[in-house]
Symmetry: C2
Subunit: 469 residues, 2 copies
């Protein structure tokens, strides 16, 4: 018995692909992923139409999707993050059905609960044996964690592993077991490992970013959560990483031993683990090659599934976001109720998505946004965000270069920070400041047809995205 | 948020225990397990009746079950292996409903498919954090693999982890994640690690056993499966372990590099891994403390779930038994069709069960029984076994001290072994030899009511066990 099949086309046929099939993909290869495009090219050659794609994220490299959408090969899309040409095409109305946007926790929860069934999951497998035991930690295209692919592999009707590093059975380092894998396909290259490096994984050198990072670090230090056992997540933006770097120094100086660091993991979080700031890293996705090395070699750096990372109750008994103390997040827009938009730009064009934004904000005791008060002549704070990605009642603090706003519902934090010599402002003051610099923008028209629905982690639709001209 | 609950009683109440609840247990603590008894004592104090227990195995230490069965607290039992006082009580008709016997692969498959639902799974957790991430590899009661508990934890409505080593969250070495665990209970001791050592985990010194081991080793060496990449499983009986020890020497002498060793793992298999005989050990259960040390420290020694070990298709895409080359198994009785009984003794009293016997026999290319031709004045080979545990069409060879019988359906093996200077006999010749020594036993009466049903790995009932006087 052997599951290796000669080509993606044959594997898709064996898996029963047909018009309307629901195919899933994961994004650990990020903008270096070759598997989604190769799979859909094979499906196209088979002549199937009306495919429904559930991809944890879509990147610029996935531009061929645009043509497939034009030709009706792909007519449905679910994702947690959407950028590049496909995002623009969606915003311009290429699909009749709205895209369903989920969160990194909501997506696997909906897969596990049956809300979002998958016919065929395609797993990019940097190393795989001929029976389908596979891992992301080894091989020339190693990407580290395969956390986002785990629910797909577990719950899909059929699973195709695509690898460029076939190893003898059984692979003891498997992350996904052969019990879940039906077919194995070997490609020359499943991706470009350099592409897994997220756009921004370097500390900012911009003085504005560094100032915000200093504010954020001081806030954390003044908060009741800066103590032994603290857990921490940050994204990969330049100011967020600078905060991680500053925080490391403060933790070491004050001998604070944290419990865990989490999220898409970068070298900065690996540094913190190795310096003893945390007992563990829990990793649903590696953002750079240092993180890949660490997860392969350090038992304290542990791969976790997206369900384990961020899924909501009652689909899971608990997930790691439920125990999170501090998270640092970004924003493209906010409003005075602290609602955050990370889906669209100031013109209403899709350029991102929730990812783990709203999951971690809901779980963390201190959910902090770091964002410059203006960008490209647009203010950060609007009367009303063009999309609610993360509800304001889960956001505690906004840090800008012009001051810090605490969500009024957090009396306790306002008290805790009152002696910290930090430029505390109301969010209205910050909005006025931004408008004094760049003026008040016109509201975007809200008349286009709905091209995207944003589902909160519990499944509720909390925003609709509209077509732009 | 914290899942720690003060007592087993409170946890069972919180999990919704009621009359008729289906509770599951696993047997990694083997005859040192304190958790099953403590849990059922707590349930008894709560006054519930008519509980249905699904335990992967029941040992002599679980004798308190007998009283609970007498009093109607426990009225149903499913298991893969049953020994000691509970086995005897079942054979004497203590339960009205027959016990359902499954295999180590069939049990998790039936749990996963919904055939055998579980209301509350109780997991003995040698180390656990306060959110339920848990492992068997660490802590004073460490037992190594938790492979048999994994399907239970994944599919049960509610899961209670019982630990004597509560650690800070999050435990990066988890084998079962907090997503699956609802409650955590701390006990003084969950078991006696010495009790995990299986009854027979030492090489035999008995000349009969050593002779059979030599025959078995020579057969393997003469078989087409003795080559690079070979995979191998053996049980923990003295002659089986002697075979492993002899095989190791032959593999090293001939520079044969196997792929994997499997099964309940003993120090002899660990030796083979460390000597380079295998690339990997895949371990659903540790049979001794050397195996526990190895699985904790050697990345090539990998914990696998019972689904991954042995579940049948189509519940899983494949399991490790499907790729197994050679397995060495025991038998209490056989018949001329090579059917094997490992459930009952010569009086028809239950004293064991399939475990992985029929799963591995079905998967392995060479399924070999090693058993002495007579035991306690009873012949091994009968006209008809008192219970078909493993169908003869999945057994290839019988090795006894008086000769070796090849299943006639295996022409290829008969040819392969014809030059090996081994005492090949027909199974009829071996039966005649046994009868010449101890005579022909009377058939057991087949009139008692049914107290056990043996389900093959695909769910078919292949035998019924009857009450004895």
């Amino acid at each position: 018995m052997d599951k290796v099949i000669n080509s993606l086309k044959e594997a898709l046929k064996a898996a029963g692909i047909r018009n309307g099939s629901r195919l899933s993909f994961h994004h650990h290869m990020r903008n270096g992923d070759y598997v989604l495009n190769a799979t859909l090219a094979a499906a196209d050659e088979l002549g199937v139409k009306d495919l429904h794609i559930n991809a944890s994220a879509v990147f610029p490299i996935h531009e061929p999707l645009v043509d497939l959408m034009h030709r009706g090969v792909v007519t449905g899309l679910d994702c947690n993050y959407l950028s590049g040409p496909v995002a623009q095409a969606i915003s311009h109305g290429i699909l009749e059905r709205p895209v369903t946007f989920r969160t990194h926790g909501g997506r696997p929860a909906d897969i596990a609960s049956g809300q979002s069934p998958i016919d065929i999951a395609i797993v990019a497998a940097p190393t795989c044996d001929n029976m389908g035991n596979l891992t992301g930690k080894l091989g020339p295209s190693q990407c580290g964690s395969l956390g986002y692919a785990m629910a797909d592999a577990q719950y899909a009707d059929k699973v195709i592993a695509v690898t460029d590093n076939l190893m003898p059975h059984p692979l003891p380092e498997f992350s996904i077991p052969e019990t879940q894998v039906d077919y194995v396909v070997v490609m020359d290259k499943i991706g470009d490992p350099k592409g897994i490096v997220s756009g921004t994984t370097q500390i900012t050198r911009d003085p504005v970013g560094l100032l915000m990072a200093q504010y954020a670090t001081s806030l954390i230090e003044a908060s009741p959560y800066f103590k032994n056992g603290m857990s921490f997540q940050t994204g990969a933006g330049g100011a967020s990483l600078a905060t991680a770097s500053f925080l490391k120094e403060r933790m070491l100086a004050q001998n604070i031993k944290g419990s865990y660091g989490m999220g898409g993991i970068t070298s900065y979080m690996v540094d913190m683990l190795e310096a003893g700031c945390f007992e563990a890293l829990v990793d649903v996705q590696c953002f750079d090659l240092d993180a890949v090395r660490s997860i392969r070699t350090n038992p304290k750096h542990r791969e976790v599934s997206a369900l384990h990372y961020a899924a909501p109750q009652p689909v899971v008994a608990s997930s790691l976001v439920d125990s999170l103390d501090i998270v640092i997040l970004g924003a493209t827009e906010m409003d005075r109720n602290f609602n955050v938009n990370v889906h669209t730009d100031s013109q209403g064009v899709i350029m991102g998505g929730s990812g783990g934004h709203s999951d971690t904000a809901a779980g963390a005791k201190l959910a902090m946004i770091i964002a410059p008060l203006t960008r490209a002549r647009m203010p950060l704070i609007l009367d009303q965000v063009n999309c609610i990605s993360t509800p304001g009642n889960t956001i505690d603090v906004l840090v800008t270069q012009y001051g810090i706003a605490i969500n009024p519902k957090r009396d306790d934090l306002i008290k805790a920070f009152s002696n910290a010599k930090l430029p505390l402002r109301s969010i209205e003051e910050l909005q006025a400041k931004a408008e004094s610099i760049v003026g008040k923008p016109k509201l975007l028209p809200n008349t286009g047809r709905v091209v995207g629905e944003v589902r909160y982690r519990n499944g509720d639709i909390i925003s609709e995205l509209r077509a732009v001209e």
